[in-house]
Symmetry: C2
Subunit: 401 residues, 2 copies
C-alpha cells in the first residue's frame, strides 16, 4: 500500500543543527481480514520536515488494564494541552499526540493479529507475537528526528490496520507490554517506568471491571488471569529490573486482611545515581522514615494515611523508596503532604496538588497511584529540560574550548 | 540550736518591688545521735536581704540512683557556671547552688533518720518518714522570696544534721522521691519532671553498680529491689500522672530480647497545653513519625538509632511523645539529629549538641537520657525567661490600663 522511497540513514545526527528529517517506514505485504496477518520488517526511510533536536524517549511498561492510559493523561497534562489521536487518521489509532509529547502503544508492533496468535497458540505477551526489529528501528528513527510510518494494531477488531505517520516529537513515550524487553529498544530509552500491580490488586481490579461492568463470571476471570500468568512472568515481569522507577501497587496494610483492592499501598521505587533524575524524598534525604500525617493538624478517616521513605536495594541497584498507604479524604489537603516532600521538580509551590485537583476524576486520584504518576510526570518534564539544556550547553562549551 | 525570731509572713508579694526578705526556719528540738531523731514543724521566719522577684520552682521526681544528680548537673550547666554545695557549710550537704539555680534534695525533709525508720519499720519512700508540712512551708517561703533554714539529711551517717541557710534563688529545683506527692507542694511547682526508669533497666543498672562496683550479691540486689517495690508503687510511681514531662527509660527494641540495659529506649512524654512549655517535635508538628537517621548520610554501628514522634495520651492528658532508641557513635553527629528537631528552646543553632559535647563524660551522653535531660534543661531556661518576662509585662500593662 504505502510507497517506500529508500534513503540512506545517517548514522550520526549533528545535534543543534537543522538537518533533513527522514520518515522511516517498512516495506510490507499487508494482508487485511484474511487472518494470520504479519509484516515483513525491511525498513525504509522517506525524507520529511526538518527537526531541531533529538527526541527524548520514555518507556512505560505494564500489563494491559493497569492504568497506563491514566498515567499518560497525567503525564501529558504536566506539559499542558490535551492529548489527541492523530487528526484525520484511523479512529482506532492508539497514538496520543500533544504539543510536547507523542505516546505510542507498543501493541502496534504486534507481528501477529488476534487470529494469527490464536492459530499459532501464542499470547500477545509472547515476544514471538511482536516485531522488535521494527520497534527498535522506528523508535531509533524517531529519536534521531525522523518521522516513521508506524503500524496500528486495532484493539476493537484485533486486526492490523494500515500504518499512520508519526512525526518525531519532543518527548516520545512508548507504552505497552515490552518497552524494556529488547535490549536495543531499552538502550534508546532516556527514562523508564514499570507499573507493577501486585496479583492481589490485579485480581480485585479485574473482578471490579470484568465482573461488575462486563458481566464476566468469577471463574472466567480467574481462568484468564491464570492463562496469562506464565507468559507474564516470563516476558513482562522481568523488565522491572531495568526500570529507572517502578510504581508498585499493593494491598493496604492499614486494614487487616483487606482484599478489596480499594485502599492501596503504593511504592515509588526510584533508582539512585541517574544523571537527570534525583529521587523524591521525605523530610530528610537518605534516612528512613515513616510518617502518619493524620493527627491534630490533619484529620483522616479510617484507615488513615501512612508514608514510608528510605533507602533500599532493588535487583542489585541502590534505590530510594517512597511509599504511601491509604487515601486522601480531601484532595486539597494534599498540599500538606506535598509541602513535606522534596525534589519534586515542581515549577511552583503546590504544583503537584494543582495537577491532582485538575484531574481528580481520574482513577487513583485519592491515593498513591495518582500522586506518584503525577510526580513522575513532573520528573520527566525536569529530565527533558535537563537533557535539552545539556545539549545546548555542549556545543557552546565546545566553541569555547 | 538555732534561735527563731518570729515575724508575720505577708500573704501577698508585690512583684517587681523591693521588699523585706524573710528567712523561714523551724522551731525544733534537735536530737543528734540518740536515734529516732525527729523534728517538730512549727515554722518561723527571720528577715533577710531584699529579693527582687519570685522564685520559679521546678520539681524533679525519681527513685534514688536514677540519675537525678546527672540531670541536675546538665540543668545547671545550661545556665552557666558550676553548681557547688553551700560554701563553708556541712560537707555532707545535699544542696547544690549556682548563680541561677539552687537544687535541694527532698531527702532533707526526712522526719525520721535511718535508725528511726528502722525502729518504726518504714522506708524512706513512706510519707510517714517525711515532713511534708515543713517541705510545703519552706518551698512556699522560698518561692515568695524568703530564705529558710532547711534541715540536712546526712546520707553518709543516715542522721539528721543541723540545718543550713537557703537563700531564695531565681530557680529552685526540688529533687527527690516526693516533689509531687503532697498537693500543696505540687501546686507550688511551675514545672515538674518525673524520671521513670523501667524495672528492667533499674535492675540492670543496680546489678552493674551494686554487684560490679560494690560487690553485692545478685540475690541481695533482687531482695532490695523487691523490698522497695510496694512503697515505690504506692507513693512514688503515682506522682508521674502529675508531671509536666516524663522521661521514661526502657530497654531497647533494636536488639531482640536485650536485657543488658546498655542500649536504651528513652521516651520524652511532654504535656500539651501548658502556658510556658511547647513540646519539642520532629519534622512535622502533630503528625506521627518514625525516623532512622542512619543511612547514606549518617553511619551508625549496630543496632543503630531510631526516633519516634507523635501525639498520645498519658493518664488522660494529651501529650506529645518523642522517643529515641539506640545510641550515638559519635556525639558530634548529634547536630544532624538536632537540626531536625523543633521547639528546642535553644539560643543558637547547635546548642543542644554543644551542651552534650561539653559533658560527654556524664552518664547517658550517648543516648536519649542525656539528650532529653539537656533538652529539658533548655526548656526550663525558656520557661524561666517567659515567666520573668510575663511578670515584668504584667505591672506595665496594669500601669497602662
Amino acid at each position: 500500500m504505502a510507497v517506500c522511497t529508500v534513503y540512506t540513514i545517517p548514522t550520526t545526527t549533528h545535534l543543534g543543527f537543522t538537518q533533513k528529517k527522514q520518515v522511516f517506514i517498512y516495506n510490507r505485504s499487508f494482508k487485511r481480514g484474511g487472518g494470520g496477518g504479519s509484516f515483513s520488517t525491511r525498513p525504509c526511510v522517506i525524507t520529511c520536515s526538518a527537526g531541531e533536536s533529538q527526541t527524548v524517549v520514555i518507556g512505560l511498561a505494564a500489563d494491559s488494564g493497569c492504568g497506563k492510559s491514566t498515567f499518560m493523561r497525567r503525564l501529558t497534562s504536566v506539559f499542558g494541552g490535551a492529548a489527541e489521536p492523530p487528526t484525520g487518521g484511523n479512529p482506532d489509532s492508539n497514538t496520543l499526540i500533544s504539543e510536547m509529547t507523542t505516546v505510542i502503544c507498543l501493541d502496534d508492533y504486534h507481528s501477529l493479529d488476534r487470529k494469527g496468535r490464536k492459530e499459532k497458540g501464542v499470547t500477545a505477551l509472547d515476544p514471538r507475537a511482536n516485531n522488535f526489529d521494527l520497534m527498535y528501528e522506528q523508535v531509533k528513527a524517531l529519536k534521531e528526528g525522523k518521522a516513521v510510518e508506524k503500524p496500528i494494531y486495532n484493539h476493537v477488531t484485533g486486526l492490523l490496520d494500515p500504518p499512520e505517520l508519526i512525526q518525531p516529537p519532543k518527548i516520545l513515550v512508548i507504552e505497552g507490554l515490552h518497552p524494556m524487553y529488547d535490549s536495543r529498544v531499552r538502550d534508546l530509552l532516556d527514562f523508564s517506568i514499570y507499573l507493577d500491580i501486585s496479583n492481589e490488586v490485579k485480581f480485585a481490579w479485574k473482578i471490579q471491571r470484568d465482573m461488575a461492568e462486563r458481566g464476566h463470571s468469577l471463574e472466567s476471570i480467574k481462568a484468564s488471569i491464570e492463562a496469562r500468568k506464565p507468559d507474564f512472568d516470563a516476558y513482562i515481569d522481568p523488565q522491572k529490573q531495568y526500570a529507572d522507577t517502578v510504581i508498585e501497587v499493593l494491598p493496604t496494610q492499614l486494614i487487616p486482611e483487606d482484599n478489596e483492592g480499594k485502599v492501596l499501598r503504593v511504592k515509588l521505587i526510584q533508582k539512585e545515581g541517574l544523571t537527570y533524575f534525583n529521587p523524591v524524598y521525605l523530610f530528610d534525604e537518605g534516612s528512613t522514615i515513616t510518617w502518619i500525617p493524620c493527627g491534630r493538624k490533619l484529620t483522616c478517616s479510617y484507615p488513615g494515611i501512612k508514608f514510608f521513605y528510605g533507602p533500599d536495594t532493588y535487583f542489585g541497584n541502590e534505590v530510594t523508596l517512597l511509599e504511601m498507604d491509604g487515601q486522601f479524604d480531601r484532595l486539597d489537603e494534599l498540599i500538606y503532604v506535598e509541602s513535606h516532600l522534596s525534589n519534586l521538580s515542581t515549577k511552583f509551590y503546590g504544583e503537584v496538588t494543582q495537577q491532582m485537583l485538575k484531574h481528580q476524576d481520574f482513577p487513583g486520584s485519592n491515593n498513591g497511584t495518582g500522586l506518584f504518576q503525577t510526580i513522575i510526570g513532573l520528573k520527566i518534564r525536569d529530565l527533558y529540560e535537563q537533557i535539552v539544556a545539556s545539549r545546548s550547553a555542549a556545543p557552546a562549551a565546545a566553541g569555547k574550548a
